[in-house]
Amino acid sequence: MAEVSLRNVTKNYGALEVVHGIDLDIAHDEFVVLVGPSGCGKSTTLRMIAGLEDISGGEVAIGGNRVNDLPPRERNISMVFQNYALYPHMTVRENLGFSLLIAKRSETEIAQAVDDAASILGLGELLDRRPAELSGGQRQRVAMGRAIVRHPDVFLFDEPLSNLDAKLRTQMRIEIKKLHQKVRTTIVYVTHDQVEAMTLADRIVIMKDGDIVQVGTPLEVFERPVDTFVASFIGSPPMNLLEGKVSGGFVWITPDVTLPLPTVFSGKVAEGQRVTFGFRADNLMPKGHALTESGATADLSLTITLAEPLGAETMLLSELAGVEIQGKMLNPRPVSEGEVLECQLSLDHCHLFDTATGKSLR
């Protein structure tokens, strides 16, 4: 049980710097997810916390103690790897108890800890099998069991679900969340999947090119993305982004397409400023198939290029000013391609970014 803090942490391989001075404070018992596209430095950051990568600069502290120069075994952490990293020549029982064996605990203590972990994760019947005889989900559970037997200060997860199929992934996601509720421990979790990040995290850390772009709760990063990168990375489908110019209370996308400037932004933009107008599919719905919501709206009539029925709702693809945009139809009816639908855009939920910097203007 401990907090983790990173102070100006950098990592370079030779002349190439891949993590540029990260600052992050993770509270005791907090579930923090590092998310970002591949190559953004999230795994490297996690491995620096684990001690599997040297820290090139800055400081990592666990429970208030600087751990830069400690080997992994002295950091009291445990880690779950993407490929499970089970010991192939040991049974599940031996895999679970291995760290305690190394720590020279007594046999009864090891047996007790293994049984506890096995019952938390439902591994009871698998204890005498070897990893080769387990399915992917079972291996993943063993890997998690191995992590919890030691009651570490911090759990580190390195893309633990990316080798599982979609259904199992959803199921294991729930199990990880339950596990966190049962064994309250600080968790740092790395993934490239924004859905995992949204569903699991107390706080999400979004990284890009070796920098932290935004830190916040799932709702904060969803509703208040600091820039266009976060806006398009978080949320599914990604936010619709249209570039335009502010003019007289409107955003001119093209001479034919203008959108009213949402009131929250009036006074925050200059006349003639280049801006990127953003809105999510949830805020663009055909009339009669939308949430009845008060607030300012703008009307758009859109030619549907593709409809994706999902059952409870239908995703609509259309084009606006040459850019593909997505909307959503609630209580759906069949929609054919080429059909023109009158849609309304909920302006209160729209975003405006500075096109030059990509930063939010809110």
């Binding site: 992994p72 445990s78 790897f81 010991y87 190394i102 005889e133 030691r150």
Partner: protein, 296 residues
């Protein structure tokens, strides 16, 4: 007209059967038969005199044979274990090398490229008590002022031969173990680090179990190799002096070709083949067990 034709499978297998019969089966039967005769190369007619198990009885009570047999096992044990140890050490070190590893791997194979005969001559010179490099060096450095009889003293001679054998063949272990290290997944090692292992514990509990199948393959190959060690011994000491370095195969060759007593030499061959069979089965069992343990 109805002619009986052999079944197709027999027709198709015939070339193989013929080749195997000529190369393996006939010599095998012939040698086995001759081990029950007092066959002497110089007197072919002896081939037709059946003496039953007389040759075998004679061998089993022959101290010289058993001395050679025991010496072969001793030699095998020493050479194999040291080769494993050195091979493992070299493989672990080469695995750490990041620059020029390919070149190093090629260099590692050099000793294997020499003919054992040449290696024998080379080490015969190196260990020569008068003009050899070893004695020369020892005397120049003032470590000793007498000429050590490397190839004459029974213990030193066996050591010298083992040295040559190890020099030539350690790389087989090194290469095979290195292949094992390359095939090894990195994740379990990292997991072990996080689980609290010191580097030695990681090696002992994770790396070594993974390498065992590779080690047993190398052991099987090399045990067969060493059990028929002949060329290096023949060149360096000729099994002498006074049988002090006699191994099973030098004894057999001497009996068969020098003394021309082929019948008894063949009998020796059949007894000592048991040795090879034993080692093969032993290591193969170990290999299967190690593979089963890894879930392969």
């Amino acid at each position: 007209m109805l002619r009986r034709r052999p079944p197709d499978w027999l027709t198709l297998l015939m070339p193989t059967i013929i080749v195997i019969a000529i190369i393996v089966l006939i010599p095998l039967i012939f040698s086995f038969y001759s081990s029950f005769t007092p066959y002497k190369l110089t007197r072919p007619s002896t081939l037709w005199r059946w003496v039953g198990t007389a040759n075998y009885e004679r061998i089993l009570s022959d101290l010289n044979f058993w001395a050679a047999f025991g010496r072969t096992i001793l030699f095998l044990t020493i050479a194999l274990n040291l080769e494993l140890l050195f091979g493992l050490g070299i493989a672990l070190m080469v695995n750490k090398v990041t620059w020029g590893q390919r070149t190093l791997r090629t260099v590692l194979m050099f000793p294997m490229m020499f003919s054992p005969i040449l290696v024998g001559f080379q080490f015969k010179f190196i260990f020569n008590d008068n003009v050899g490099l070893v004695n020369n060096a020892l005397q120049s450095l003032g470590i000793t002022d007498v000429a050590l009889p490397w190839l004459v003293d029974s213990k030193l001679a066996l050591f010298s031969i083992a040295f040559a054998e190890i020099w030539m063949s350690t790389s087989i272990f090194a290469i095979l173990i290195l292949a094992g290290l390359f095939a090894m997944p990195r994740d379990p090692l990292e997991a072990a680090k996080v689980d609290g292992c010191t580097p030695w514990q990681s090696f002992r509990h994770i790396t070594l179990p993974f390498l065992m199948p590779f080690i047993f393959i190398a052991m099987t190959i090399r045990s067969l190799d060493v059990a028929r060690a002949y060329d290096i011994v023949q060149i360096m000491t000729g099994g002498g002096p006074a049988r002090r370095t006699e191994l099973v195969w030098t004894l057999m060759a001497r009996t068969g070709y020098v003394d021309a007593r082929m019948g008894i030499a063949n009998a020796m061959g059949y007894v000592s083949i048991l040795l090879s069979i034993f080692f093969t089965i032993y290591f193969f069992r170990k290999l299967s067990a190690a593979r089963a343990e890894l879930g392969l």
